[in-house]
Every structure is written in structure tokens, then in C-alpha cells.
């Protein structure tokens, strides 16, 4: 065996000597080719820019960035703010004119409440103004704990968590739960802070038509079919419905009982934004759950700000501890921001006291809302958008001029006309380019308990006059 092998080797060497030169050269080239193929990269890992230093410098020299911000023309409608001197309470001085306030969300008139002010003052005396730290790092004060407890008790939920800024509340809460890959079903009329929360969550967002439960169910069904195709994936995709109790942009109430039915049918959690309905709807001002008599435990998370009815600053979320407690480590606006100044928390506590002591106040507000809604009906050229129970109505043009700028100018003229006649109104402001579904231009009319019947009549009359004069 060994001898045989040796013989083969000898023969191979002999064949090598006998082979013609061109053959050897060819083989040699082929072998080199193979080696080259073995050691060279088959593809370029990254495109190398073979620019010389000089070329680079030229490129840098040539590059001209856009200006940091485009120039805003001096007459930009949202550049010149109306200036309020003195407190923005029932009687308000706008641009030097004393008016009755039909624009601030001070629904319960708690902004001017002596009791609230006194409580804030005594808190100021004890704690100073700022907290100088986030909740985690000695920014938790006894008043924060008290306010959370009181809010939870008021809303009849297990736990509440407060934020130092109303806008940041729902905008932080949504991304604390809904992550990349999760699905959120959202009403088209959802307010801007919900939109920002959704954007931060990087979840998959599906919009349904405003308050259209059929459209929502259609989307849920679509998702159900999708889930059946891929049940393994479906088991980890969280789903949420995000709605507002009383829509700030549409001034109407969400059909909560239907939403709860859909929730259990399709196993989707509900997040409810109640900034406009907290302290407004329901017998005790608990919001839209009380309004419909829905069990509050059926709503996974309720968020609201304390800047409207409570007339303080900040916001809160409430619900079951299982849900809410998660935000204490995952709510970005909670963890990474200084906590609410104690005097503002104290003011909110006192406002809650007033709400609890005098639940009749909600009835008064609701009656006034209805009255105002009725009084504004039939204003020529303007349609009243919103339900009778809402404290912040929209007046939209019946016939648009076709251009948003011109529409806004017309409405602004009505606002100015009213301002001259002691009625303070405001345009509803939006960022035209940022809104997902931009609402039509409108004037906001806010009802508060402080407004008397006569004042409301006067406001309605004034708006009517203005409309007749300006819209012709």
C-alpha cells in the first residue's frame, strides 16, 4: 500500500516535468486566482468615500445649511399674543380692555377662590416655591402624597400619580406602556398631547373616525383576522384604545359604554384622557365614567390635568395600582422632571376640598353649559360645535371662504369685536403643520360657574351682532 502510494507521487512529479510550460503557467495563474478569491472580500462592507482631504474641505466649504429657523413675518397671526394684565379670572383685562372671561378653562371659578389662595399661601410659607428635585431625589413632599391619595379617593381608584405639567401627563403615560410593535387605536380628534405620546411610544397607531364605534370595530376585527394568521405574535402585542372623555377639539363626549363593550370583546385596554371632563361631568365631577355610570375599574387608565377645573398646574393619572405604579419608574415626565411646586399641590388639594364639599357646583355648571349652548344656537353664519353639556364650545364658520388664513381672519374679527364689548373670547389655536387631523378654525367659548345668566345672554348677543356685521 505504502509502496503504491509512493509510485503515484513519483509519477505526479514526472508528469509535472513533462507538462508543457504554457500549461504550468496557466495552472499557476489559476492557483493564484483561487488564493486571491479566498482572501479578498467578496463585497465591500461599507462604501468608502475615497475623497481626498482637499475634496472634503471643499465640500465642507461649499455646504450651506438652512437657517436655524425660518423668518417669521411680523404679522404672523400667532406671533402677537393677546396680553392679559392682572389675573385671568372672571373679570379679565385683555389688551387693556376689561372684559368678562369666556376663554379660560376656569370652569369652576376656583382660580379666584380665596380658600385656594390662602392654602397656597400657607404652603408657600412652609415650603417655599420650588422643589429643587425630581420625585426620586427628595422631591417627594408630604403634600404630593396627600394630593395623590386625595385624587385616588375622589376618583374612587386604587392609586393616583401626579405630574408637574398637564401636557406631559398623558404624553408620558402612553409610552410607559405601549412600546414598539404594540398597537394603539386612537380617535381622530385626539388632542395634541395624545398625539405626542403616541409618537414617543413608537407603537403602531390606527386612527378611527371620531366617535365612530363601527369604524373602531372594523379596525379591531381587521386586527383579529391578522392575529389569527400569526397567533404567536398576537400573544405579545399589547393593544390600547386611547380616547378623550370630552374632546377638546370636538367638544363632544366619547361613547364610553360602547367602548367598554368593545374592550372586553376584543381584549383591548382603554386609556381615557379627561382633562376637559374631570370636574365637569357627572354628579360629583368625576368625569365621563360617572356621567355614563361606567365602573371606573373597567377603564385601565384615566389621565387628566389639574389646569382646567382645578385651576392649578400639573396633571394626574389614576387607576389600579397594577397599572399606575409602573409609571413611577417608567413615566418619563414623572421620573426625570422636578416635582410639582408644593404650593400648587396644596392649591389642588383645597380645590378638591371645595369640589367634595359642594357637589352642587357641577349641576350649576352643567345647567350653564346647556344655557350657553342654547343661546348660541342660530347665530347667523356660525355653527355651534359641541354637546350641550360641554363647557368649551367651538364656533365654526358655516361657510368657509376656502382659505384657512381668511377664515381665521374673519373669526379673529369677531373676537376683536367682542373684546371691544367686554366679552373676552379666543381663537382655538393649533399648529397647522403638526396636527394629525387639523380641526377647522373656530372660536372657543368657555362656560364657567361664575358667569351669570345675563352675562351669557350678553355674550351670545354680542357674538350674534359680530357675526351679522362681519360675516354679512
Amino acid at each position: 500500500m505504502a509502496a503504491g502510494q509512493q509510485w503515484v507521487l513519483v509519477e505526479m512529479v514526472q508528469a509535472f516535468y513533462e507538462a508543457p510550460a504554457y500549461h504550468l503557467i496557466l495552472e499557476g495563474i489559476l492557483i493564484l486566482w483561487i488564493i486571491r478569491l479566498l482572501f479578498s472580500k467578496t463585497y465591500k462592507l461599507q462604501e468608502r468615500s475615497d475623497l481626498t482631504e482637499k475634496e472634503k474641505e471643499e465640500l465642507i466649504e461649499e455646504w450651506q445649511p438652512e437657517p436655524l429657523v425660518p423668518l417669521v413675518s411680523k404679522d404672523h397671526p400667532s406671533l402677537s399674543y393677546d396680553v392679559v394684565t392682572g389675573p385671568p379670572s372672571h373679570r379679565i383685562i385683555v389688551n387693556g380692555k376689561e372684559c368678562i372671561n369666556f376663554a379660560s378653562f376656569n370652569f369652576l371659578g376656583l382660580l379666584d377662590s380665596e380658600r385656594v389662595k390662602l392654602k397656597a399661601l400657607s404652603s408657600l410659607k412652609k415650603y417655599g416655591v420650588g422643589t429643587c428635585g425630581p420625585r426620586g431625589f427628595y422631591g417627594t413632599f408630604d403634600v404630593h402624597l396627600e394630593l395623590e391619595e386625595r385624587l385616588a379617593k375622589f376618583m374612587r381608584t386604587e392609586e393616583a400619580i401626579i405630574y408637574s405639567y398637564g401636557f406631559a401627563t398623558i404624553a408620558s403615560a402612553i409610552p410607559a406602556y405601549s412600546k414598539r410593535g404594540d398597537i394603539v387605536f386612537v380617535d381622530e380628534a385626539a388632542c395634541f398631547s395624545i398625539q405626542k405620546g403616541l409618537q414617543a411610544s413608537r407603537s403602531f397607531v390606527k386612527y378611527f373616525k371620531h366617535n365612530d364605534m363601527e369604524d373602531l370595530e372594523r379596525l379591531l376585527k381587521e386586527q383579529e383576522i391578522e392575529d389569527q394568521k400569526n397567533p404567536r405574535k398576537a400573544r405579545v402585542i399589547r393593544r390600547f384604545i386611547v380616547v378623550e372623555g370630552l374632546y377638546i377639539n370636538a367638544a363632544d363626549i366619547c361613547p364610553l359604554p360602547e367602548l367598554v363593550k368593545l374592550k372586553y370583546k376584543y381584549k383591548v385596554r382603554i386609556f381615557l384622557e379627561e382633562s376637559m371632563s374631570f370636574g365637569v361631568l357627572g354628579e360629583h365631577g368625576r368625569g365621563v365614567t360617572e356621567h355614563f355610570g361606567v365602573n371606573i375599574d373597567d377603564i385601565d387608565l384615566i389621565s387628566a390635568n389639574m389646569e382646567n377645573a382645578l385651576a392649578s398646574i400639573g396633571g394626574f393619572c389614576c387607576g389600579r395600582s397594577f397599572v399606575i405604579d409602573h409609571q413611577r419608574l417608567s413615566g418619563q415626565g414623572y421620573c426625570f422632571s422636578a416635582s410639582l411646586p408644593p404650593m400648587l399641590a396644596s392649591a389642588a388639594i383645597e380645590a378638591l376640598n371645595i369640589m367634595e364639599e359642594d357637589p352642587g357646583i357641577f349641576r350649576v355648571l352643567q345647567d350653564k353649559c346647556k344655557h350657553m349652548h342654547k343661546a348660541l344656537q342660530g347665530t347667523p353664519g356660525l355653527k355651534t360645535v359641541g354637546e350641550p353639556l360641554t363647557p368649551a364650545l367651538h364656533l365654526q364658520l358655516e361657510n368657509s371662504t376656502g382659505s384657512r388664513t381668511n377664515d381665521l381672519k374673519l373669526l379673529r374679527a369677531i373676537v376683536d369685536y367682542s373684546l371691544d364689548r367686554q366679552i373676552a373670547l379666543t381663537l382655538a389655536r393649533y399648529l397647522d403643520k403638526e396636527e394629525r387631523f387639523l380641526p377647522p378654525p373656530s372660536i372657543r367659548v368657555v362656560v364657567t360657574v361664575e358667569q351669570t345668566q345675563e352675562e351669557m345672554e350678553k355674550a351670545a348677543q354680542c357674538i350674534r351682532e359680530a357675526a351679522v356685521k362681519i360675516l354679512k
Binding site: 394684565t85 385671568p88 379670572s89 379660560s104 408657600l124 429643587c132 428635585g133 408637574s164 413611577r328 404650593m343
Partner: protein, 557 residues
């Protein structure tokens, strides 16, 4: 009558403003005087601490190798135990204290993924008592902590009703001591509360634009030495709601790796491309700038619309100062824009408290966007953006905050006005400047003493944020508890706020701290440092290389 009164106060405020202008002029003229004074003072005392230098060095001393090994082992043990206890919970041998899902919703997709909660359940809960400690007094140099106990191993806490009084506060961002409740000092704040109440109930663009907001904005611009400023109700939101107004798709953001969450969120919401450069590393930044301009946007290779560099003045977890002069050089060379977040540095550094621009002797107008908060040095709440008039005008019409968020609370506004006036000396006292100097002195004192004791201290010598490295997660809890026992409240931070091996304690120096307080803290630290063995320093040079030589830039000497 009300209208007359309000008009009166408005006129008065106008008069005040013109008055301020004059005084500020004097103030600026006397800038040199203040600087000299600091030097003189130091020399007089024959102080052994570092001479004030315009450019301080950031130090990041490396821990000995065995510390890193022990830290990983420490985590390993806790994680193993965690798995073991999770097993016990699963088989029902250990009671699970965590809040549970409702019965009705058990068949929903779980709200949390299990591994998300592993860290919280098994690591954080063990040391949970060191955070969220409730206090029941002013967050001044000393405060009262509400005693709480846990009956279920930190799952829930129960307040005992007792308070731990006069704990030295080393945790609050009360740099200039404006967290105070002196009735005389807060007189104007109380007046505003009486007049306005606490809320506003409307947004700036609707009917929430009060004259005091405008007064504040004029004052902030004047204080910072720039054309214009706008104030917002929350510091976090100032970043996250305004960055999207400045940049968008087709723009590039170059962000320091240690930037605060609010900056990161703002960048993310803007839709711009984000690239992260190494902390304070100018070579890394320059390389990225060069690369970005030369190769343009990914795939399309279109040129970038604009490039925004985002940095902080003082980094809140590292105590390091931004390398502002170098960044300004780079920014000019590559035509990028600069967004400077002065959350921790405004009021806290600079000879007269104007922040890092003044510290480095740089014209604040060279920074495109100056951002800062009122929460820290000014003892209030909120934030501002300042710069050129065009920038602020654009924000007035396009900031998310101006359109959708409720305006700032009037008493809070008054507190900021009061604090700024005090720092500027417009109130007719030198108290503000005394505090600025006191803070600088306290900072150097604490830092140098700690270094001498052999602790590893991160950051710049002039930064009032003083991180003391503890490394091992086990020592984090022990340290904080032992300090509280000695009546000193400290902040400790670990993963995920810091790299996993670099858990630390963080002290925030305040001008309100007296020498006695600092000495007590130092003495306790000295004893405790030996007891729990956290004096890791071997005075070795940094592992984070100093990439630019000190001598590269000749600046204001």
C-alpha cells in the same frame, strides 16, 4: 377700580424694567471687579484650594480592576438570587407582593413583559428605601424627612408619623439657596399669589399670556445677555416640546452620549436623524461633523438641511463641564448650530452666575439656542429658551408648549423674577453675588477635601454636581442608609441611570450650606468611606483620554 390698579402695576413693572437696564449696565461694568474680588479673596486667605481657572479639567479616574470584577460578581449574585426567588414565587413558596392584574383581564395580552420587571422586582426592591424619601419641610440646606418603614421587604412603605429632623440636604438642586421660605424675601411671591391665584387656565397663544410672563422673559434675556427669551412651564418639556420646532426630517442632530432624557426625547420626536458622539469628546464630534457633511444623508446623499449639536452645560450624573470653546470652534468651522442645555449650570457657574458661557468667557450670542431650567438655581419650576430674536419669535409661533400647554403659574414666575433680580443685584443688595461666590467656594472645598480623602470623584472642579463613585450595587444601599443614620440625605444612583459598573452617590453643593454642615458631611464621609471601603482612588490618570490639550486654545486668562 381693578383695571386702574392693574394698569398701575403694569406701568410700575415697565418702570422697573428700565431701572433694571441701568443697573445691569453697572452690573456688567463691574463684572471684572467681581472676578478680581474672587481672586483677591482667595489669595488673602492663602487658600490651599485650586486657584480659580477659567478652564477646569474634567476628571474621570478609573477604578482598580478588582472593583470592576467585584461589581460584576455582585450583580451576578443578586441576579442568581432573583431567579431563585422568582422560582420560589412561581411554585408558591414565597408570597408575591406585587400588584396583580384584575381577574376580568387575565386573558388580555400581559401589560408588562416579565423580564421588564425582573430588575424592578429583584434588584430595585432591595434598595428601594433609598429613593422617593418623602420630606415635609423646605428643601433647603437642611430638611425634615418623614420616617417610613416597610413591613413587607420594601414592597410597600408605611409612614410612622415621626420625622427625622434637620437632615443635611446634599441631594436637592438648590445651588444658590433660593429654596427658602423667609417671609420678607417671598413677599412679592405672596402678593402675586393673592392677586392671581396659582393657575392660569389657558395657553400662551390663547388667553394665558399674562404681562408678568412677558416681564419674566425680558428679564431672562437681559440676565443672559441675549436678544430675546421665552419661558415654559416645565424644564423637561422645554426640551422635548421645542426641539421638534427647530429641526425635523432631513436634519441631523449630534448629541452627547450623556445627554438628559428630555433632550433625547425631543430629538426623537423631531424626526431628525440622531447620531451620538462620545461624552465631551471633540475628536469624535469633529469626525462625525466631517463625515456628515461629506457624505450627506444616508442613502440619498442629499446634503443635510442643518446640523444641530446638542450638549449640556453641566452633565448631571458626571459633574463634567461642556468643552464649550472647542465646540464653538467646531460649530463655526462646520456651520452647525449649537443647542446648549444649561439646566444645571445656569446660576451655578460663572463668576457672576451667568452659566457656562460666562465661565468660559464666551459671548452668549455665539450659542444659537440657550436653554435652561428654573427648577435648580432659581428654586422655582419651568424652563426657558433664549437667543436671537428670530429664534424666539419662531418659537412663539411654533412651539408646542406655547400652543397646547397651560402657561406658567404666576407665583412661580414671581419667584424666578425675584431670584434673577437678586443674582443681578437689581434688588439693591449684593446677596445674589455673595451666593454665587459662596457656591463656588463650597464646591471647591467639598471637591478637594473629598479627593484628598481618597474617594473617586468625577467631573469638573467648578461643578457643584459632585458624583462620588461607589461602584458596587451592595454599597449603594449601605451608603445611603448609613448616611441617613448620620442625618445626611444623599442621592445615590445606579443602573440604568449610570453605566452598570459605575453606581455612585451624587452631592449637589448649595450656597446655603455652611462650612459646619460641609465639615460634618465630610467627617461622616471620611468615617463611612473607611467603614464600607469606598475610597478607591489611587490618583491614577483618567482612562477617558484628554483628547485636546489644554494649550490648544488661548482663552480669556
Amino acid at each position: 377700580s381693578e383695571s386702574v390698579r392693574s394698569d398701575g402695576s403694569f406701568n410700575e413693572s415697565l418702570r422697573n424694567t428700565s431701572h433694571q437696564l441701568v443697573i445691569t449696565e453697572i452690573c456688567f461694568k463691574s463684572k471684572c471687579y467681581f472676578r478680581n474680588e474672587i481672586n483677591v479673596q482667595k489669595n488673602d486667605k492663602g487658600d490651599c484650594f485650586h486657584q480659580p481657572r477659567v478652564r477646569g479639567e474634567d476628571s474621570f479616574e478609573e477604578a482598580p480592576m478588582y472593583v470592576a470584577v467585584l461589581t460584576y460578581m455582585n450583580y451576578g449574585i443578586v441576579i442568581l438570587f432573583g431567579y431563585f426567588r422568582d422560582f420560589l414565587r412561581a411554585v408558591g413558596l414565597e408570597k408575591c407582593h406585587q400588584a396583580q392584574e384584575r381577574e376580568e383581564q387575565k386573558d388580555f395580552v400581559p401589560l408588562y413583559q416579565d423580564f421588564e420587571n425582573f430588575y424592578k422586582r429583584n434588584l430595585y426592591t432591595r434598595v428601594r428605601d433609598n429613593w422617593n424619601r418623602p420630606i415635609c419641610s423646605l428643601p433647603g440646606p437642611v430638611f425634615d424627612i418623614m420616617e417610613r418603614v416597610s413591613d413587607d421587604y420594601n414592597w410597600t412603605f408605611r409612614l410612622t408619623g415621626r420625622t427625622v429632623e434637620n437632615v443635611i440636604n446634599m441631594g436637592s438642586y438648590n445651588y444658590l439657596g433660593f429654596a427658602e421660605n423667609n417671609v420678607d424675601l417671598l413677599k412679592t411671591v405672596a402678593e402675586e399669589t393673592r392677586q392671581y391665584g396659582v393657575g392660569v387656565c389657558s395657553t400662551r397663544q390663547e388667553l394665558g399670556n399674562l404681562s408678568i410672563h412677558e416681564k419674566l422673559e425680558r428679564l431672562v434675556a437681559e440676565f443672559l445677555g441675549v436678544e430675546s427669551a421665552m419661558a415654559f412651564g416645565m424644564g423637561f418639556a422645554t426640551n422635548s416640546m421645542n426641539i421638534p420646532a427647530l429641526v425635523g426630517k432631513g436634519c441631523l442632530i449630534l448629541s452627547d452620549e450623556l445627554n438628559h432624557t428630555s433632550l433625547i426625547l425631543g430629538a426623537r420626536l423631531s424626526g431628525a436623524t440622531i447620531r451620538v458622539f462620545k461624552h465631551n469628546n471633540m475628536q469624535s464630534l469633529e469626525k462625525m461633523l466631517k463625515e456628515a457633511i461629506c457624505s450627506g444623508q444616508p442613502r440619498t446623499h442629499r446634503t443635510w438641511k442643518k446640523i444641530l449639536i446638542m450638549v449640556e452645560g453641566i452633565y448631571s450624573m458626571e459633574g463634567s463641564l461642556v468643552r464649550l470653546p472647542e465646540i464653538l470652534e467646531l460649530k463655526k468651522k462646520y456651520k452647525a448650530y449649537l443647542y446648549l442645555d444649561e439646566a444645571h449650570s445656569i446660576g451655578a457657574v460663572g463668576p457672576i452666575g451667568r452659566g457656562v458661557t460666562e465661565h468660559f468667557g464666551v459671548d452668549p450670542n455665539e450659542v444659537d439656542v440657550l436653554m435652561g431650567t428654573f427648577t435648580k438655581s432659581f428654586g422655582a419650576a419651568g424652563g426657558y429658551i433664549a437667543g436671537k430674536k428670530e429664534l424666539v419669535d419662531y418659537l412663539r409661533s411654533h412651539s408646542h408648549s406655547a400652543v397646547y400647554a397651560t402657561a406658567m403659574s404666576p407665583p412661580v414666575v414671581e419667584q424666578i423674577i425675584r431670584a434673577i433680580k437678586c443674582i443681578m443685584g437689581v434688588d439693591g443688595t449684593t446677596e445674589g453675588q455673595r451666593r454665587v461666590r459662596q457656591l463656588a467656594e463650597n464646591t471647591r472645598y467639598l471637591r478637594s477635601r473629598l479627593k484628598k480623602m481618597g474617594f473617586i470623584i468625577y467631573g469638573n472642579q467648578d461643578s457643584p454636581v459632585v458624583p462620588l463613585l461607589l461602584y458596587l450595587p451592595g454599597k449603594v444601599g449601605a451608603f445611603s442608609r448609613a448616611m441617613l443614620k448620620r442625618k445626611i440625605g444623599v442621592v445615590v444612583v445606579g443602573f440604568p441611570a449610570t453605566p452598570i459598573t459605575e453606581a455612585r452617590a451624587r452631592f449637589c453643593v448649595s450656597a446655603a450650606h455652611t462650612r459646619e454642615m460641609l465639615d460634618k458631611v465630610l467627617q461622616s464621609l471620611d468615617e463611612l468611606g473607611d467603614y464600607i471601603k469606598v475610597k478607591f482612588s489611587r490618583h491614577r490618570s483618567s482612562y477617558r483620554p484628554e483628547l485636546y490639550d489644554e494649550t490648544d486654545f488661548e482663552l480669556d486668562s
